[in-house]
């Protein structure tokens, strides 16, 4: 196990390196891109432009600039944004909890609902309950999430704002530490919007697993032995059906933690997705780099965790 983890960590480092180089290359492939322009302000003198260029190391060859940027991110931790001139890392650490709030709450909701929905559908396969749940699930996967969020805003902030949805505050974010009740009120609609699509996916995954596991020989044996259905479900079916469910959850959570651009933009949540998008529009390379590395790190980490957990949980694989 230790060597496995060591290898995976090395692999993580390699992945992050390649990805950061990709960002660098993509960014500097814009002909004539000159970050100094944003830093220098309006109508600067050529001498000022030159001075800023050398202060920020922007006249160095690209590989040196890359190393300089990595140094500022990981060693001295004082990387500065090209658009605001402020430090990047505090910006990212301020945005991360917002995304975490959004994703965390949504995960709780979608896991709870899809467990129930998937179970009911899987057990009642072919019957009305199954069909209805699968139709709802189908609609859920097919609805564009930004449109759903916009419609939610239309309903809660528009006409019905003063009646039914008076409790929904205007778009924005307060930290749960300063005002927990307001935080919940603000996040409920974004949570539901983000969770909706995933409920569709996860209930289907669980249903498919349950159906498949139900056909396994040892389940049939258990039934033949006379075990009651709930017992069969609980002891034999669920445990293995949950394996793909949980692994998918790990992977999705890992990729969401890096930022959910569309939902954050629609609801005005200042999370990592919004930060990354604004940075991309403003060609703010330092912020882009940090958000991409952060996001990629969690994707790779979650892949590793899921692989380890999978090998641990599924005896069939462990033996391989």
């Amino acid at each position: 196990m230790p060597s496995f983890i060591a290898r995976r960590l090395l692999w993580t480092a390699l992945t992050l390196f390649v990805i950061s180089v990709m960002v660098f290359v993509i960014f500097f492939s814009i002909p004539g891109i000159d970050p100094v322009v944003a830093l220098a302000g309006r109508n600067p003198a050529p001498a000022t432009v030159a001075a800023i260029r050398s202060t920020f190391g922007l006249n160095l060859p690209l590989p040196e600039q890359y190393l300089l940027m990595m140094k500022h991110i990981f060693l001295t931790r004082d990387l500065v944004s090209y658009t605001t001139g402020l430090r990047v890392l505090p910006q990212v650490t301020a945005a991360a909890p917002v995304t975490l709030s959004l994703v965390g709450g949504a995960v709780v909701i979608w896991v709870t609902v899809s467990l129930m929905a998937g179970l009911v559908a899987g057990v009642n396969r072919g019957r009305p309950a199954d069909r209805i749940l699968m139709i709802v699930g189908m609609v859920a996967i097919s609805t564009p999430v930004f449109w759903l969020g916009s419609m939610a805003n239309l309903i809660t902030q528009g006409g019905l704002h003063h009646t039914v949805f008076g409790w929904v505050p205007p778009p924005g974010y307060v930290s749960p530490a300063s005002d927990p009740l307001l935080w919940v009120r603000q996040m409920v609609i974004p949570w539901l919007v983000l969770a909706f699509g995933f409920i569709g996916i996860y209930s289907r995954v669980l249903r498919a697993s349950i159906i498949e596991i139900q056909e396994e020989d040892y389940v049939r044996t258990a039934r033949a032995k006379g075990l009651t259905e709930p017992r069969v479900l609980a002891r034999h079916v669920m445990r293995l059906s949950l394996i793909p469910f949980v692994s998918l959850l790990g992977l999705d959570f890992g990729s969401l933690v890096g930022g959910v651009v569309l939902v954050e933009v629609v609801f005005g949540l200042p999370g990592l997705g919004m930060l990354a998008f604004q940075a991309a529009s403003g060609l703010d390379l330092p912020v882009i780099m940090v958000t991409v590395i952060y996001g990629a790190f969690f994707i790779v980490l979650s892949n590793m965790v899921v692989d380890i957990a999978y090998a641990w949980l599924d005896p069939r694989i462990r033996r391989k």
Binding site: I26, S142, L148, L154, G158, S255, G259, A296, I299
Partner: protein
């Protein structure tokens, strides 16, 4: 188990579990025939196919609608235009009441000849743009999906077939690219290539039109399709009959074209409708953010973006494209499911009802 294997569960089993109805020379043709027949008798499949066909037909009729029904050109601005509402001629962009700040476009008239769904902030007919937008979104979706699946399949075949270092290298590369948060990658490449267009050696793609979104969206999903297909290729290579064939002296080219490719093809066919759904959603997301289809081009995403700035006064400009996207993606997903079920022999072999 990686996500690839999880999504491989969506594929028809070509592995040890499958009954291998596609096995053996001459069995492939009948297998696809059988699949088609299953599809034909599946009511849900037929209904979704019908819905899809309807949407496609509607969108393809955009020029006819614009010219003969609405009498409008939905691409240039029409700020000074007028139209008829309730028998009276009114300006398309109207001044607001009160202190008169801001301008408001005319709302839905529910009359196909006069701004059925109202006008957007440029004074253009939203209904006509919706149909043209559908053409663009569907074209981008279909092209990206097919290009993506083609590239991924070729790479997966090469990788799985060649094995060894090539396979290891290619899969590792795909893993790394897939670790890049996919939407951020799309955003970054789009923003960058929108400055000058994309120039890959002799190939040059301009920033207007559909070329750029198609290229970008196809490329970012290649790793996603690559992995399960490669898994399939490897699985087939390990099968008894393949090993037997090799022992009997069959050439690798024969192996590739008569055994591996047809089986893999089934999986790819299942992937196509699902990928079209994904690419349509991605394109509309990118256009919403302003980095997909560029004005004056219309796509469901750009129309929605126009509608966002009018959301509280003229909500239909935002509501309509979302409905269209949802209906299209639903029909694609249902179709995808049905195709997968049709290619899965277990569906009928065990006589179980679905």
């Amino acid at each position: 188990m990686t996500r690839a294997e999880l999504s491989a569960k969506a594929l028809p089993p070509g592995g040890p579990d499958g009954a291998g109805a596609a096995r053996g020379a001459g069995g492939h043709g009948t297998a696809l025939h059988r699949a088609a027949r299953r599809l034909r008798v599946n009511p849900v499949a037929m209904a979704s196919l019908l819905l899809l066909a309807l949407i496609v037909a509607l969108c393809l009729s955009a020029p006819l609608y614009a010219r003969y029904v609405a009498h409008t050109d939905p691409f240039p601005s029409n700020l000074a235009g007028t139209t008829i509402v309730g028998g009276k001629r009114v300006p398309v962009i109207q001044a607001t009441q009160g202190t008169g700040l801001g301008e408001t476009p005319v709302g839905p008239t529910w009359d196909p000849r006069h701004y059925l769904l109202g006008a957007d902030s440029q004074g253009r007919d939203v209904a006509a743009r919706l149909l043209y937008g559908g053409r663009t979104s569907l074209a981008i979706g279909a092209s990206s999906a097919i290009i993506c699946c083609t590239i991924a399949t070729i790479l997966a075949l090469a990788s799985g077939f060649l094995g060894g270092v090539a396979d290891a290298g290619l899969s590792r590369l795909m893993d790394i690219v897939w670790a890049f948060p996919v939407f951020l990658l799309a955003i970054l490449i789009s923003t960058v290539s929108l400055t000058q267009g994309l120039h890959l050696g002799p190939l040059s793609i301009s920033t207007t039109g559909m070329g750029l979104p198609i290229v970008i969206i196809s490329l970012i999903y290649v790793p996603y399709v690559f992995r399960p297909i490669r898994g399939q290729v490897l699985a087939i290579r390990e099968k008894e009959f393949v090993k037997a064939a090799i022992l009997q002296g069959a050439s690798s080219r024969w192996l590739l074209f008569s055994e591996i490719l047809p089986n893999v093809l089934a999986s790819v066919i299942v992937f196509v409708p699902l990928m079209v759904a994904i690419t349509i959603l991605t394109e509309s997301g990118l256009s919403f953010l302003g980095i997909g289809v560029q004005p004056p081009g219309a796509s469901w995403g750009t129309i929605f973006a126009d509608g966002e700035s009018l959301i509280y006064t003229r909500p239909w400009v935002a509501i309509a494209p979302g409905i269209m996207i949802t209906l299209t993606v639903i029909s694609l997903n249902l179709l995808g499911d049905a195709v997968r079920d049709a290619l899965d022999p277990r569906a009928l072999d065990s006589g179980r009802q679905r």
